[in-house]
Structure formats: C-alpha cells, structure tokens
C-alpha cells in the first residue's frame, strides 16, 4: 500500500505513528483518508478551502505535489508521500 510519511510535529495528532498506509489510489483520496483517520491533523495540514497550508509541502520523491493541483495523481503500491513543513521565519 502507498504510505504517507508523517513529520515529527504532526505525530502528536497521529498517536505518534510515523507513517499512514492508504489503500486509496489517488493523492487527494489518500489525504482525505488520512485526515479522516486523524481529524486533529486537519487544522494543521489543510486550510479552510481544503488546500494544503502554504507552509507545508507534499513530496513524492523529489517532486512537490499538491492535492489542489495534482489531486488525481495516481499512487502505486510503493508510493511514499512525504509531508514536509516549510521551515522558515525571521525577525
């Protein structure tokens, strides 16, 4: 099954699990299944319109993907979708 790799700061909402296995075949269905399983993740991952928040990126391998634009992207058995906080800031 495809996997969603969960970053450390979101694990407090996923019972400390580091990965979520999904039987869904598209990126948007997988993300929906993930936030349905762990509803507390939703506010930190998605904005009011259901898009991934601007300071969080999703990657499949080296490619950045976004459910709003690449929602129909097909997932294979061995696809790993990484959730990566865009770490930034400044004075």
């Amino acid at each position: 099954m495809a996997k969603i790799i969960i970053p450390t700061p979101l694990r407090k909402y996923t019972d400390q699990n580091r990965a979520f296995e999904t039987d869904k075949e598209t990126l948007s269905d997988a993300i929906r299944q993930f936030v349905d399983e762990y509803p507390e993740v939703k506010d930190n991952l998605l904005d009011e319109e259901g898009s991934v928040r601007s300071y969080i990126k999703l990657y499949i391998g080296d490619e950045e993907v976004n459910p709003a634009k690449n929602g129909s992207r097909e997932l294979n058995e061995d696809t790993e979708v990484s959730i990566i906080p865009a770490i930034a800031g400044g004075k």
Partner: protein, 151 residues
C-alpha cells in the same frame, strides 16, 4: 515544558549565530522528550533563503527530510529548530508565528553587534500563539545539576 541543553550544544548554536552575523543562521536540534526536553545534538543547516538573509531564514525540504531520517536512525527526537535574530531580541516575530509548526521548540538567539546576547525558546500553544519555555543548562551526567541560563 522546560528545555534542557548541554553547554556544548548551546555554544555550537551561539557560535553559528555569531559566525553568520549579520545574516540569520538556522539549524536543527535533537534529543529526548520526557518530563523535559533534553537537547543533546545540534546540526547546522544552510540558510536556503534567496536574497537578503539578514531578516529571513529558510530550510530546504531536502535538509528537513535528512533531519527526520537522522532522528529515526539515531533513535532521537527531532525536537525543533533554532535560528538567530541579528540585532534584534530573541523573541518570535509575527512571521515566525505564522509559519511555525506545533510541538517543535523554536530556539532564537539574539546577536547584538556580532555577539550572542540571549538565547530563548518558544513553543506554539493550541491557539497558535508562542509561549516561552524555560531553558536550563544540563550536562546530562548521571548526577543532574541544572543551573539557570543567563539570558
């Protein structure tokens, strides 16, 4: 929750902040999460912000993925991110708050005229507001002797 940090780890962050002055520096720290957070290892990371780095920092997705992998491989927790505020207080800005992640500790080092002046740590509340967490020095020997950090 309090943050305990070894002298070596603290010195490494402060030296990095001074070296990159007047630009902002950034990095990750790792350790153990228990009754308090124990910072044991510090890794410097390249500031990937394009253009003026005197008031902004950014960490590349690749470096972030490496940090997560390092934590798993070494059975440590990726506890948070540090960065510097050149000629500015060690307090999070609105920009820091908007893009901050829950759970992580955010250590900020104020650098005044090229010298590290104060080091403070912050965490997001459930209301997405930063709250300061106390920082103390701990050498993590068998006998714990924490002492207050001069800030």
């Amino acid at each position: 929750m309090a943050l305990e940090i070894s002298t070596d780890a603290l010195k490494k962050m402060q030296a990095h902040a001074e070296r990159d002055y007047p630009n902002e520096c950034c990095g990750f720290f790792y350790g153990l999460e228990g009754e308090s957070r124990q910072v044991r290892i510090v890794h410097e990371v390249e500031n990937a912000k394009e253009g003026d780095q005197s008031n902004r920092f950014q960490i590349s997705p690749k470096d972030y993925q490496k940090a997560e992998k390092y934590a798993i491989d070494h059975d440590l927790d990726l506890l948070g991110v540090y960065h510097s505020h050149p000629d500015h207080p060690a307090e999070p800005s609105e920009h820091d708050r908007k893009v901050a992640m829950p759970w992580f500790s955010y250590i900020i080092i104020s650098v005044q005229d090229g010298e590290a002046a104060s080091t403070r740590s912050w965490r997001l509340s459930d209301e997405r507001q930063f709250e300061e967490e106390p920082v103390s020095i701990n050498e993590f020997s068998t006998r714990k002797t924490p002492q207050n950090l001069e800030i």
